[in-house]
Symmetry: C2
Amino acid sequence: MKASKKTLALGLALVIGSGAATAQVIGKADDQIRWRQSAYHTMAWSMGRIKANVEGTYNKDQVIEAANVIQAIANSKMGALFQPGTDSGKGWKNTRVKKEFFSDRETLGKVAGTYVKEANEMAKVAASGDAAAVKAQFGKLGDACGACHDKFRQED
Amino acid sequence: MKASKKTLALGLALVIGSGAATAQVIGKADDQIRWRQSAYHTMAWSMGRIKANVEGTYNKDQVIEAANVIQAIANSKMGALFQPGTDSGKGWKNTRVKKEFFSDRETLGKVAGTYVKEANEMAKVAASGDAAAVKAQFGKLGDACGACHDKFRQED
């Protein structure tokens, strides 16, 4: 039970920050929504690049570049962009975040922790240049992204 | 003269890719414009985070996180998102790229090379935790961003 709580706390700290490391809040609500939409789309572009490489001609450098972008964003504590008052509103478009994001911290901590773990692993595997391993890890990372979308993102 | 051409070629290769490392083209024109707008805004968020830290309470981890995002994006060969046909069009909003981006490769190579260099230096300085050095490097990186905006981005 304690271990589980520890994992949860770690997941939340990874994404939201905690204690002294709590991110300084910058931006108004609409800025925060636009920035988080931008960061998710930058990761989507990078996922698309990895996909194109594992399905087409494999280029180690391109996969490393894309995986490094995903890793850096995953470790940037984007939770700071989900301040109170950003549960609705418009950045580039209306936010699709569900209310549960702000209330179900336990599930959030779990899915967030998995996503950061798989993003870090993706960067490690990309550096190895092993195309088969990259393909497998790409699947795991995609599942981690999807788990958060399923729980916390409204359908279009 | 040769050295200068080498520097230019390096700058272009850093941003656009060259030879075997040319990025596989993914996305339609509007996707490419939306992805590059997203990546620039993700860097803008990260620059804002560094600014908040050098002007307010300095937190080493936050600056490292933000600098790593900028570095990873700067090294991701975003030139692949400026394919022919993306000189106009709408991603999140109408692109502001100037025609010169596609014609003046010499200037592009120079400003791009400087931007990648300063982004890499920013990540290195952030890791040191030296707030004064971070402040100075933040200024240099901001100048590098601004040089590209001046040359290749239309005013709103």
